[in-house]
């Protein structure tokens, strides 16, 4: 592998992002419970700071230089060597940007929350801290540390503010994800112990020749399955639709939009980077599971009556596309997978935030009870339809490019699986359009009141941002691809053949 260039940060942007979340959390803890407006205002300000910083680093990243930039390194524990080590590169910049966007829009989406506001935003900030930390960390210890920090608040967030079957769903999600981390931790410690370097530094451990082929194959399967649970890989996806359905809107957004990417990113960052030979060895299995996931998600989604379940299963299917991209062992596949993580994150966030609005007004998210909604709420319906079109992969949205990149390389490497996946995509168009037709067009359901308020400009702001981002990267995909390629191309060239 080509050693990664490292450019240390002049200003600690990455730590500043983390700090903005921690500071937000602490400030919220010291505001009295009754000052709900103030809490929301503070949350918006701090999440806004995080967003601005993540946009800055995304565009300030020097693509001609490549490698790791904005690097910060502080020794944390002397022996075993653990360091607070952050850096940004083509592999994580899209995801940091994604987190920034979903974080900010998530806060705005929950503007109307009235119950236990303080606790909600405190836990929400803790969750986001973990997510940011995970994406930027380059130390194995901290990678796992942040991974678990981001899982911890999920349980109370869903159990307290959730809806359908919330207690069941939150416990299931919590235990599934922690079972995932129970697979990941032994593998991480195993790699640490076998390396003999006495360090958790990911970059140092990535040196070729650190691990024998057997060690790579052995650790890879644990890491893949462990992170795969969070990535919603079939057959470990069952927590995800129930969890998404039960969660409150912004948690669904963050969860489907960002948290599932944590799993896929973990596979990329830890499993694939440290065990490239294990990756090549197990890629067939990855492809099979991913393809089944794509097809299965679509088929089950076809029969759902609950709008949120529809999105939940489409997530399973779309995360399957990420998995398929990762399984191709090609630079194009990786490009597509990373881009898909970003695009799918924004798209699901848009869908969930639209459904959240519809549910708040109509108090139902069952498709048969809706119908003709576009007559009552044209704007809210518009956002959902935009998201659905993006999900189908219509050109002009970011998802199109991501899926295209994945499918091109998948067809080359796995012709049969690729064809299955593409057929599933056509089916998914059918199923999304069916949902759109039944929910928003056709005769108006009698039970829907006529004077339901539509999304106002202020409430529409977060949805506008999400839709805007989808279109921006849809029309200018090179903005994203050029960043991602600074990682994927040197990485693939460095792999032993």
């Amino acid at each position: 592998m080509v050693p990664m260039d490292m450019a240390f940060a002049k200003f600690p942007f990455l730590s500043a992002i983390l700090l903005s979340c921690v500071a937000g959390l602490l400030v919220i803890l010291f505001i009295p419970e009754e000052r709900k407006g103030l809490i929301k205002g503070i949350s918006a300000i701090f999440s806004g700071i995080a967003l601005v910083l993540s946009v800055i680093i995304f565009f300030a990243y020097d693509k001609s230089l490549g490698g790791l930039q904005f690097v910060e390194k502080l020794p944390w524990v002397a022996s075993p060597c653990i360091s607070y080590f952050n850096g940004a590169g083509g592999f994580n910049l899209p995801l940091i940007l994604l987190t920034g966007i979903v974080h900010f829009t998530g806060v705005l989406t929950m503007w109307e929350l009235e119950t236990r506001v303080k606790e909600y935003f405190a836990l929400y900030f803790l969750l986001v801290t973990g997510v940011f930390g995970f994406f930027m960390s380059l130390d194995l210890f901290f990678t796992f540390f942040w991974y678990d920090v981001s899982l911890l608040p999920m349980y109370p967030l869903i159990a307290i503010w959730g809806t359908t079957q919330k207690e069941y769903a939150s416990m299931k999600l919590f235990l599934y994800l922690l079972a995932g981390s129970a697979l990941v931790l032994p593998a991480i410690i195993y790699l640490f112990a076998k390396s003999g370097l006495n360090t958790f530094d990911l970059v140092a451990l990535m040196e070729p020749g650190t691990f024998t082929p057997f060690q790579q194959k052995f650790a890879f399967i644990f890491l893949y399955l462990g992170f795969g649970i969070l990535a919603g890989i079939w057959p470990f996806h069952t927590w995800s639709p129930t969890g998404h359905v039960a969660a409150p809107t912004s948690v669904s957004m963050l969860h489907a939009g960002v948290l599932m990417k944590l799993g896929a990113f973990g596979i990329l960052r830890v499993a694939i980077s440290l065990c490239p030979e294990g990756w090549q060895y197990w890629s067939g299995l990855m492809a099979v599971l991913a393809t089944i996931g794509i097809v299965y998600g679509v088929l089950v989604g076809l029969t759902q009556k609950d709008l949120k379940y529809v999105i939940g299963y489409s997530s399973v299917s779309h995360m399957g596309i990420v998995g398929l991209g990762l399984s191709t062992v090609t630079a194009e596949g990786l490009n597509g997978a990373i881009f898909q993580m970003f695009a799918h994150g924004i798209m699901t966030a848009l869908l969930f935030s639209s459904v959240g609005y519809i549910y708040e007004r109509t108090h139902t998210k069952m498709i048969p009870e809706l119908g003709g909604l576009s007559r009552v709420m044209p704007v809210a319906s518009g956002y959902f339809i935009l998201g659905a079109l993006a999900g189908i992969g219509i050109p002009g949205f970011a998802n199109f490019w991501a899926e295209l990149a994945v499918f091109i390389s998948a067809i080359e490497v796995y012709p049969i699986g690729g064809i299955f996946a593409i057929c599933a995509l056509v089916l998914s168009a059918l199923f999304m359009l069916r949902v759109v037709q039944q929910t928003f067009y056709g005769p108006k359901n009698a039970s829907i009141k006529h004077h339901l308020p539509d999304i106002s400009f202020g409430q529409g702001l977060p949805r506008m941002m999400l839709a805007g981002v989808l279109l921006l990267f849809g029309f200018f995909p090179s903005l994203m691809f050029e960043v991602i390629q600074t990682f994927t191309i040197p990485f693939m060239e460095g792999l032993p053949r």
């Binding site: 524990v77 540390f145 349980y155 235990l175 129970a182 195993y190 112990a193």
Partner: protein, 471 residues
Amino acid sequence: MKWVLFIPELWVLLMSAFFFGMSMAARPNPRRDYFIALFFAAAGVIVTLIAVRMEGTLFFDVYRVDLFSQVFKVMLAMGLFLIISLCSELNGIPDFRHHEFYLLLSICTFAMMVMVSSVELLTLYIALELSSYSLYILVALRKDHGTPMEAGIKYFLVGAVTSAVMLFGIASLYGAAHTTSLTDLVKVYPGVVDQPLAFIGLLFTLCGFFFKLALFPFHVWAPGVYQGAANQVTAYIATATKVAAVALLMRIVTLGQSSIPLVHILVVLSIASMTLGNLVAVMQRDMKRLLAYSAIAHAGYVLIGILSMSPEGYAGAIYYAVAYLIMNFTCFLVVIKVADDGRDLQIDQLAGLHRRSPLLAMALMLGVFSLGGIPPTIGFTGKFLVLVAAMQKGYFYLVFIAMINVVISLYYYALVVKAAYLLEPEKELPAIILSPAVRLLTVAMVILIVAGGLFPGPLYAIARAAARLLV
């Protein structure tokens, strides 16, 4: 001037002597007694902290003072202070017994301090018995609630049997190695390790501390005693005595450094203990019983560090002991404050805690998640260090089984959090008013839990320095 080395113990002994006098002479006055005890305990912490860098031997070399023993003495003094700070409303103990309560508590602490320093098996045994007997009485002292007599007798019977086993073990060790001094045993033992007598001797000697730690198969007393004893006494048993047991296990296990069968037995005990503890804990409805089973599970985790028999493993176990003291105390703090009349606390009775006292609810959540080993808490770091040590010895399966156990345990820990944050009480309960001192204590505990998870560096460095003295 060698007596300076003995000052921490002397101070605690002075405290018990003082309360011994009080118990005979003075009328009980809970408020006054509480402040006197608090003063003694707080000064005890300061004295042990001052003495932390002392080194030397006492009493014809049966008593060694070094960083290892002093670190544990600080933990024990800390434990005593923390428990006494929760005794402002000592409703579980009859008023006229308060002097005896403080007397026994300090005697027990004294005995355990002697225990962590002694390097001679007979001294060790006597100190162990002294601490055990104080506890048998303390358990039975409770009034009004539960079944203290049953718990006390159960504790006594199991304790008496294990101490007989242990004595048998010490005798066998002596038979094989012709010495009871640990300093000599370390040199002689590797030569006789293959003799069945020596092996049995070592294993049986360890049993005395397995009992203290509530490790399978010596765990049977734990649920009954935890539930039957007064809340403060349970808190003491659950924190301070475990710390001492961990110290002594490490000290004695170093003898068997070269014995592979011993490692195998410890591995089996560790797996059995954590699996049994976690599986049974899932069914519990009583908070203290739940914590008892979780203690059985934790005995298994901490044993992972000890059985690694490497400096890293011992350091991890020391770190784990500190973590365990802090997080378990935090949970008991919540139990004691919520059940302020001294009753047993059911998990359901935590309902609505987030409104009655947001601070306690947060402390409880951090405490149980720390027990569960989720970052950013001290419990996570402790578990991580222990598992790293085991993996460096190549015990992949052990680490894996431990992690599966962690997932099981998180189910019941999450149920506790759910009770505190999600369930609503049947009838509206009044808010829990905490005094400023308790508030401060709770906040300090919360900070310690998080700081131990975020900045393990300094504490781990001390643990390593202490562990290096063992091997």
